[in-house]
Symmetry: C2
Subunit: 333 residues, 2 copies
């Protein structure tokens, strides 16, 4: 099956580029509410499931033990831009468990935020703290400490921390995460491919608490509320996830993943969302997510206007001239 | 028509992302030698035609008048990384025509090269000199000076410089560049959409000198040889265009464009190449170009080995682990 074109990128009067992809919107009972393209093929969710990967941190009592507030929990779910308060927050998480930043095994990269990268460059080179996944890794490390296990190899599939994470992912997605579908993520932890429909179902359960244990539902709600209250900590200045959650609070949970993946939940509608752009383009996955929100979330005029720049971004060149746009196709209507 | 998948990006044992696109390989007589996907749809060539846009600079005598050598001519054809010697070269081009960098109207952006961006950040902000198109713009400005016309608005479609450029593009592509197919490029000059087959034909003519006037053929050869001798000036450290032309010299001319466009010529085979990835991905267009070169250019074992990392790049994560690969599909065989 060939997935339909979901996004067109225009320049002048013509369509310059096209992005194909698939969308699944599923309710907490597992009923498919919207299926566009192929939703049965396994897809690596990458960072889009960080909030699920953070659940053991809460469920196992580590978050309470180390006194984590909304900022720390949001950082555990984040692909952050490496801005100073992100880095400081991750350092604080580690310090609360008596850990040093050296324990992070995510690898180093320059902060996503240009200004933050420039500031880092002035004094040295980026560290693992600047990696967009450092909050998730700090969460893993704190979980290892709270579980009383050696944290040194916390990123390996067979480590107790990753076994916990895997069990949570299996519970939410309703799939067996087998070795053949396991690959290594950008930050070196395992990523298991899961069909889009199962990812959407997982986020319907995450958003509603239905279909999982009461403890798990409470942990999910705690993470969702933390992200809704501290959306800047989930991504950063000017980032899509941050702007959407700043706009809608607890009504929308969204999380981006590499290679054109996006997951989300509309808790009041009881819906979970999973998107994969075939070619891995974030610009497309974002606009599709905005399109799904516009379709399923009741919006007032102000909210609709605020969502418009995310749904139909204008493309400007280096002189600030309007040269084209990103637009959602009829396939999403 | 749906273009075929040309590139697969793997992670672990699975294909994570896919890139569709079209390829045209045409000889100097205009005969299609290879057509994959849709080659009749107009495509914005963007920076892939910079070498054609630089022809009036040579033909009108401006390059001689200002004493341009290979480096300056390569910069006029370049999408450079903004490294110090690129910036110095562009400044030198402007100075030779008595112009100040303030005359550049391409807009400013951070150097593509991370180290160069960091160095710029230490002392201030990027200028138009760091824009990857600044060499092309310096060429336009020098052409305006040599033509004795006011250079202030050299980037506008109706300016004599852009009229010259347009005439050259029409001659090479054999198409009328009409207003409806004109849009604004990232650096604010016009870009006209042209079918892929015409772009490929244009580069067969550019590579062989056939089908254009003797003066134009000599100007084309001069630019090709300048790029072959100074490939670092066409792109920069570690960049695909630079590495390919360092490897093959005058046997291959290649030039990237934004939004997944790539053009090139194999002069000894008398072939022109034009590629467009539907989704605009450079990683895909590059690997497709490497695949076309591997198919049509006779290679010895050493050359084949040297081309392999461009044809089948390994993907490494932030810890340097091998997590996947980019691979050309059978559609290109």
């Amino acid at each position: 099956m060939t997935n339909p074109v979901l996004i067109e990128v225009t320049r002048g009067l013509l369509v310059e580029s096209r992005h194909r992809g698939a969308v699944a919107v599923v309710d907490a009972a597992g009923t498919m509410v919207l299926e566009i393209g192929e939703a049965a093929t396994p897809v690596f969710p990458r960072s889009a499931v960080k909030a699920l990967q953070a659940l053991p941190l809460v469920e196992r009592g580590a978050a309470d033990r180390y006194g984590f507030g909304d900022e720390e929990l949001a950082l555990a779910c984040a692909s952050h831009s490496g801005e100073p308060a992100h880095v400081a927050g991750v350092e604080r998480m580690l310090a609360k468990a008596g850990l040093d930043p050296q324990a992070l095994r995510c690898g180093a990269h320059w902060p996503i935020a240009q200004a933050a990268a420039a500031a880092v460059e002035r004094t040295g080179a980026p560290s693992a703290l600047h990696n967009n996944c450092s909050g998730k890794h700090a969460g893993f490390l704190c979980l290892a400490c709270a579980m009383g296990v050696d944290h040194a190899e916390y990123f390996r599939p067979e480590h107790p921390v990753q076994r916990e994470v895997r069990a949570v992912l299996e519970d939410f997605t309703g799939t067996a995460l087998v070795k053949e579908r396991c690959a290594i993520d950008g930050c070196s932890v395992p990523t298991w491919a899961v069909p889009l429909r199962n990812l959407a179902h997982a986020f319907a359960k995450f958003g509603t608490g239905q279909g999982v244990s009461p403890e798990r539902a409470r942990a999910a709600a705690r993470l969702r509320h933390a992200c809704a209250r501290k959306p800047w900590h989930v991504a950063g200045t000017g980032r899509f996830c941050t702007e959407v959650m700043q706009l809608f609070g607890t009504r929308v949970f969204v999380k981006t993943g590499a290679e054109g993946v996006f997951c989300g939940a509309l808790p009041q509608q009881g819906l979970g969302i999973a998107i994969k752009c075939d070619d891995g383009a974030s610009r497309a996955a974002q606009a599709v997510m905005a399109g799904v929100i516009a379709r399923f979330l009741p919006l007032d005029a102000t909210e609709r206007a605020a969502l418009a720049p995310l749904l139909h971004p204008t493309l400007r060149n280096w002189n600030g001239l309007d040269v084209g746009a990103v637009r959602v196709t009829d396939a999403l209507q």
